[in-house]
């Protein structure tokens, strides 16, 4: 398929106000049609005969919609959708509620076009700022949170603060996993915690390429500033944690020892 045909058809579609299903239908048919015509003539002549993409689009619009009311209705819908996406807020609030909060609340605005921040509050909340049991947003707050920046019991984000568990580029939590991880238990490129496991690990128990702490399993320096942690057995990890914290829950021990060989 030639790119000039694709470009022409794309230009036609740009000028048609119709739903996606109809546009797909037109796209497939128009591409097949032009290709067929080109098999029997010169491509430039064919496209010239068909006319400017705007004219072809107008002809389609004239025939897709049998009366003026249909066209007006479609244009109003497109305009409203465009407004919502470009400037205004998109908001959906489910009628079903739990503890006075909607089951699902979506409130999003496109701040790039001057919209206000959409703050969503619900059991499931999706927004520029979201607060919910399950919370998805640029800034997400709540129980289980996903976002650019998030704070919750369990949190997954670029910058992630999790009271129980934090996963992210920067993760801070009781248990943190991330590029930079800070927590009681921390696993990461750089890990800081009571029990830390990582490229660089600092903690009471530290296991890593370079480990700094009271109870450590440390790698070797292969060249200046470069450390490698060789194979560490599960039993070694378990014994070093048990030495530091004799009464620690066994699931925490198991979690870290799972990183060993």
């Amino acid at each position: 398929m030639r790119s000039s045909i694709n470009t022409y058809v794309a230009a036609v579609l740009e000028n048609i106000a119709a739903d996606e299903g109809m546009k797909k239908r037109i796209e497939k048919d128009l591409i097949a049609h032009i290709n067929e015509a080109c098999a029997q003539g010169d491509e430039a002549d064919i496209l010239d005969r068909m006319g400017a993409p705007e004219e072809v689009a107008r002809e389609f619009m004239d025939n897709i919609y049998e009366n003026k009311e249909d066209v007006i209705e479609k244009l109003v819908q497109e305009r409203a959708l465009n407004d919502r996406l470009m400037r205004g807020l998109y908001e959906y609030k489910s009628k079903a509620a739990l503890f006075g909060l909607p089951l699902l609340h979506i409130k999003v605005s496109n701040r790039y076009y001057g919209g206000r921040m959409g703050v969503a509050k619900g059991i499931i909340a999706i927004g520029n700022i979201s607060m919910g049991v399950l919370s998805l947003g640029g800034i997400a707050l709540g129980g289980i949170c996903f976002g650019g920046v998030s704070l919750g019991l369990v949190s997954l984000a670029g910058i992630s603060l999790g009271l129980l568990l934090a996963l992210g580029g920067v993760a801070v939590g009781s248990f943190a996993v991330g590029g930079l991880a800070v927590g009681f238990g921390a696993i990461g490129g750089a890990a800081f915690g009571k029990i830390a496991y990582g490229g660089f690990a600092k903690g009471v128990v530290a296991i890593g390429g370079k480990a700094v702490g009271k109870y450590i399993i440390s790698g070797t320096e292969i060249s200046t500033g470069q450390y490698v942690l060789g194979e560490v057995r599960k039993e070694e990890i378990e014994s070093v944690i048990r030495a530091a914290y004799p009464n620690i829950s066994s699931w925490i021990v198991k979690l870290f020892s799972a990183l060993g060989a």
Partner: protein
């Protein structure tokens, strides 16, 4: 009356108070005839599909050729009609891989049983209506 000749498309345009006239078979065809044509295209498409399964480009060519240029249809006119007929289950479509060197897949249209019945009904209505219109148009006095 102004006019210009479009040699490239073999058409003559007469400009009368912004109305575009096209000469086809020596007769001036204007916007009114365009609307008249629109009303009968469905019946013509059903008719030619009742004779043979065809793809879109063929339908346009065949209508142009058999009507001696009266029904020069544009893509934007034909396809929405095909969509309406297909959505009404009067025709159905299927894709077939191209067999020629270019190998472009073709979307063929075929008439359904409901389409054949509809064509018969439309033909009868057309004959009745055409006769009635002619009766009135040939009137010379009341």
């Amino acid at each position: 009356m102004d006019f210009f000749v479009d040699f490239f498309h073999n058409k003559v345009y007469y400009i009368l108070s912004n109305t575009k006239y096209i000469v086809i078979r020596g007769v001036l065809m204007n916007e009114v005839s365009k609307q008249l044509k629109k009303g009968v295209i469905e019946i013509l498409v059903l008719k030619i599909l009742s004779l043979e399964n065809l793809y879109g480009y063929q339908i346009i060519q065949l209508l142009d050729e058999k009507s001696e240029g009266t029904f020069k249809m544009k893509e934007g006119t034909l396809y929405p009609i095909l969509y309406r007929l297909e959505d009404s289950k009067l025709i159905e479509s299927y894709w077939e891989a191209g067999t020629e060197k270019r190998g472009v897949p073709r979307k063929y249209y075929r008439i359904t049983e409901a389409g054949r019945q509809q064509l018969l009904d439309m033909q009868q209505e057309w004959y009745v209506m055409a006769d009635s219109i002619n009766l009135i148009l040939r009137m010379e006095g009341v």
